[in-house]
């Protein structure tokens, strides 16, 4: 049972997604665990074959309990050692639940939307109540058993149920509300902004796109994502999380891409390892991610692990973005619209395409000086697009 938060002592195994004998690959979702706060999908972080399942569905066990045994392919079945030993071997207890099963962190729980107590979840199942339609009155908007009972009583009357799209909408709104309120309550933001000359980048892009079939076109957003990732490699305090009173650097550079949904709301799923990908790979990932976000089929790992977020509201015409950091991340980069503006260089004023870049950063982690270096790195990298 992995630790899904500092305050978690135990969790209920809600559902197994694998059976003994199944092959599993790193990243597969093997189980759903219910905590007091939310249902969370547990991903496996090793390849192998499920040898035995040790905790039944519905069972509540303390953090550190071994949930299942995995063996490597080709390896003979292992005797099941006593629980204490297994706990060490298969699933180290908190706060290092990395060996067999690691679990998405807070933002995913938030984006999955609902805080539901296990009791309320069971009650909802008994009564056939859609949890997304229930208004939570518990701590932090958590849905309690009483809320479910109330919703069931309301639904029993001949009231037309809200269509699923509206339910999803309401759930998403609550999630955004909770995350943004937490951000503004807890994170001492500081804001910096700078204008970046985009003439090199745009000229390079135009020339490059002339050589390419339309299906392999590059968009300038790919350049922006890549420069943010490379700048985050230089100024590492922008990339990671504020957890339990200290900064934890991100294990890699996973850039969250803010995608506004036309029906309302937004999601910010991650493109993984942006600093290690080519522009072509980034384009493919971005096209795929946006398409899936529109269709509502994002993966848990994408929602759980952005280490920094980029928002480009420029397409809607705004010049500058003053962003709100997505907790527990520590920085958000905003890009406005590219417009032609007067630009003085080498004693001459000319018209150039210019973009305003902004940084919202967590003052508990970094200071304005480092933030300034980070923004300057973005501006510098965009002057040499052929090297991106």
């Amino acid at each position: 049972m992995p630790s899904l938060g500092a305050d978690m002592e135990a969790g209920t195994l809600a559902e197994w997604r694998v059976r003994p004998g199944d092959g599993v690959k790193r990243g597969d979702i093997v189980a759903v665990v219910d905590t007091e706060k939310a249902a969370i999908e547990v991903e496996i972080f090793e390849d192998g074959i499920v040898q035995a399942i040790l905790v039944r569905e519905g069972e509540k066990v303390p953090v550190g309990t071994v949930l299942a045994m995995i063996r490597n392919e080709g390896q003979p079945e292992q005797p099941i050692p006593p629980q204490e030993v297994k706990a060490e071997k298969v699933a180290p207890s908190a706060p290092r639940p990395t060996a067999a099963a690691r679990v998405p962190q807070a933002p995913m729980a938030a984006l999955r939307g609902l805080r539901v107590s296990p009791l309320a979840r069971r009650r909802a199942e008994e009564l056939g109540v859609q949890l997304t339609a229930v208004t939570g009155t518990g701590e932090g908007g958590a849905i309690t058993k009483e809320d479910v009972d109330r919703a069931a009583a309301t639904a029993a009357r001949p009231v037309q149920a809200a269509p699923p799209a509206e339910e999803r909408q309401a759930g998403l709104r609550r999630v955004i509300a909770a995350a943004m309120a937490r951000s503004k309550r807890e994170i001492p933001h500081y804001y910096l902004g700078t204008d970046i000359d985009m003439s090199q980048a745009m000229a390079w892009l135009a020339a490059e796109n002339l050589k390419r079939p339309v299906t392999e076109r590059l968009l300038y957003s790919a350049l922006l994502l890549r420069t943010v990732a490379l700048a985050a490699r230089e100024v590492q305090e922008m990339n990671g999380f504020w957890v339990d009173g200290s900064f934890k650097p991100g294990p890699a550079i996973h850039v969250g891409v803010a995608i506004s949904l036309r029906q309302g709301g937004l999601v910010a799923p991650a493109i993984h390892d942006v600093d290690k990908k080519s522009l072509d790979e980034l384009m493919r990932d971005m096209l795929d991610l946006v398409k899936r976000a529109r269709a509502g089929v994002l993966r848990s790992s994408e929602l759980s692990d952005p280490t920094i977020t980029v928002t480009s509201l420029g397409e809607q015409g705004v010049q500058t973005v003053f962003g709100v950091i997505y907790p527990p991340q520590v920085a958000l980069v905003g890009f406005g619209r590219i417009t032609e503006r007067p630009w003085a260089a080498a004693g001459v004023v000319g018209a150039r395409p210019v973009i305003s870049a902004s940084l919202s950063a967590d003052h508990r982690v970094s200071d304005g000086h480092r933030g300034g270096l980070f923004l300057a790195a973005i501006g510098r990298l965009l002057q040499e697009p052929e090297k991106l």
Partner: protein, 87 residues
């Protein structure tokens, strides 16, 4: 390929790029991007989808011709004629 078949294909691809859009209410003479609020990534997905469905190459310079539903259909129709004659 008829204009009607192309129109259906265009609408189907738009539906996959913007699943929540109300395609029936599109005004064929107004900009698709404005009406459906699609951004540059969605638009590129649309172009790639059209290419995959119809097998028509769309050079960069022709992208403005895909701006409205009407212009899309007439552009793709003429392109598919050219491709047919070539074969």
């Amino acid at each position: 390929m008829t204009a009607e078949q192309i129109r259906e294909t265009v609408l189907r691809v738009l539906g996959s790029v913007a699943p929540e859009a109300e395609l029936q209410s599109i005004d064929p003479r107004l900009s698709l991007r404005d009406q459906l609020d699609i951004d540059s990534v969605d638009f590129l997905n649309f172009v790639i989808g059209i290419h995959a469905e119809l097998g028509i190459d769309i050079p960069e310079v022709d992208l403005p011709k895909l701006a409205t539903l009407e212009s899309c259909v007439s552009y793709l129709l003429s392109k598919s004629e050219v491709e047919r004659v070539k074969r």
